[in-house]
Symmetry: C2
Subunit: 450 residues, 2 copies
Amino acid sequence: MSSENAIKNPHELLERLNELHPSDIAYSLKKIEKESEDDFYYVLKEIPDEILGEVILELPDNLREDVYTLLPSQRLSDVVYELDSDDATDIIQEIEEVDEEKAKEVFEGLEEEDKHEINWLKRYHEDEAGSYMQTELFSANINETISDSIKRLKEGKESDELENIHQVYIVNNEKKLIASILLEDLIIFDFEKTYEQIINEHEENRFKPFVVHDKDHIDEVAKQVEKYDLNVVPVVGYQGILVGRITSDDILDVIEENATEQMYQLAGVNDDFEHEDNLLNTAKKRALWLFLNLGTAILASLVIGMFDKTIEAFVALAILMPIVASMGGNAGTQTLAVTVRQLALGEIDFDNSKDAIKKEVFISLANGFIFAIIIGIIAWFWFNTALLGLVIALSMIINLFSAGFFGASIPLVLKKMDIDPAIGSTVLLTTVTDIVGFFSFLMLAKLILL
Amino acid sequence: MSSENAIKNPHELLERLNELHPSDIAYSLKKIEKESEDDFYYVLKEIPDEILGEVILELPDNLREDVYTLLPSQRLSDVVYELDSDDATDIIQEIEEVDEEKAKEVFEGLEEEDKHEINWLKRYHEDEAGSYMQTELFSANINETISDSIKRLKEGKESDELENIHQVYIVNNEKKLIASILLEDLIIFDFEKTYEQIINEHEENRFKPFVVHDKDHIDEVAKQVEKYDLNVVPVVGYQGILVGRITSDDILDVIEENATEQMYQLAGVNDDFEHEDNLLNTAKKRALWLFLNLGTAILASLVIGMFDKTIEAFVALAILMPIVASMGGNAGTQTLAVTVRQLALGEIDFDNSKDAIKKEVFISLANGFIFAIIIGIIAWFWFNTALLGLVIALSMIINLFSAGFFGASIPLVLKKMDIDPAIGSTVLLTTVTDIVGFFSFLMLAKLILL
């Protein structure tokens, strides 16, 4: 698998299309575009419709926008026509963002059935399971024989409408989903029997489908898929009517995206604005976070300002004070990352939140004592003042205690208030560790040293 | 799906075993254990062998260890016997860590074939694809008819050996993997034909399997599965011999674990030691990181110490200096998180690393100018000294520039040196932003103010 080797020659790429996966073609196209926009457009024009759609889906956002601008509406309709309903809907919506008029033209160029499905999928909010599902699936009426349904499967596969099929969904006359039979089971049954016969011959829960609802939050669906090791999950709507299915590759993307989002949020970055063409927009979004942080830093400075006379009398305090704040910030960040992640993975919940806080306080405090001794001795000998060592040691213990306590409590409290615990928790935490760090150190110095 | 409602009554749980998924049973068991160890043991004793193995796999580490200690060797053998080879190997290795003697007894209680497979899987390193694969799969010789192979599938399913089957792997007489046919294709073919006939009737690449090698790194396998939207991937060994397969649920776990690891590493936490029963071990591992950070903080203090006379003359410097360092640290963390994540997702590579650095420098610098103006004005009016505003403004620009430059370069350089860019990059970065922040601010103050 030489997937990492891009084919930078447009003619070679076009010749080898059949042996390449769409994501490899996309990777090569990305490299071609960097060297020549003309070559990029040339390849776009020449790639067959049935491949191009899948390739577009693998391109980065900015190149997708280029494609929507470069290709004529009729060509885009032909490409969208070849895609599964969920992907087709995504692309139509993306074109809308670039050029509403063109999106309308592309949409009008589709067949009635596709238009109907896209209009229907578009109604779902982007967080709802419905917006991740595809309507293409293999279903059968309970009164049908297996062999009749397999004939339909064959037709669906020949027309490229059905792929990635792992089970047949059995519905009743009202289209309500009542069973799901894996192909690995189906293939060993007697094809002349009806599904009703098959279901009756087996124990009650044997074919009971695991379902999600079209209005469920996609993160919940992802959690279930992970928990129950599912490959595909059927989606039902009003009154249990089967409306679509979500495949594990989409779930994988959701999980990967959520992890990215969480990591970014902890660092004060908004994922949605990281792929902007205009970097000033990205800068603006990041500035919001830095602005909050500036507020925190000024607050900490005000605390220091309360002790200006103490510092003037004893400049060593100015030299040492960042150490206490920095250690508190780091210990707090450790606690925060662990708590946020374990909350997301379901390892911490409200049932055991007290244990989680206790655990984190214990760990921070243990380290607080160790580093109190180390820095106490260093400060003592550095400035030849035993009491200065005592001051910094005590304030280290106080600040690492508060780092553990607040690092664990802040995300839990945010979660309790139904706020995403990754958002804003870092800035809240550093406010605490900075202020507690500077205040405890300078206050103790004022009391003990002067 | 009331998956979140634990059944805390042991009798009720045992009665409802058949309608519950192993991970739901594990969830309830966790809650039962919290309330009574006796009830926990009682349920363990009563759960049938064929369910218990799957349940153990879903329990948290500490409860798994309890299970290995509580249950007799013979019972553990019966439980392991029911599992797929990859899971059986994992459990035997986990028992080894708790009690080597007992692990030997459990192993001796297995059938010869299972012993052979476990011994073989144990040879793989934990990062190798081989250690994630299961040897149970549905394969057929190329000269076999479809119907003969389906008979074997039926037997395999009846004996619970085969499950989660999506394709048949076709091998030649030397057991070399030559094709992979999806069940959705197989079910519509003529069952009386041999696989050779089927393959010859179709175009060349139609059934070409995507394979990974048993010695491949599991992270690489995960990347491929994600990239090519695979459900299952066959694993081949020496000379292309089919040795096993990896299913997407295992890949999902790998992706989730890698994301956790990355997030933890950025925060200075080692994932491997976060689930220790002895919290002092967790504290010790976190202390290592804090120790590094202490070194950084002391370095920054030494820089401040170079300017003790300047601070004595002008205590406002002590009050304001943490602002510059803190803003640099935060802007740098933003850049670092984005760069580390995009490197991991393959969005940044060495081809476009210069663009990535340029982008980050531009964003940081843009924010550097904005915050220079804001903090410059604040400092000017706060201390009624225009030049102090100039000093902090200039040092803000310098430090945010270095935050962007080093935040993007450090992970890239680490990656170039084949070091995981998430490890250690935070501490390197804050060293830079602290030292540049304090030095530029105090040096400029000395030059301009005094």
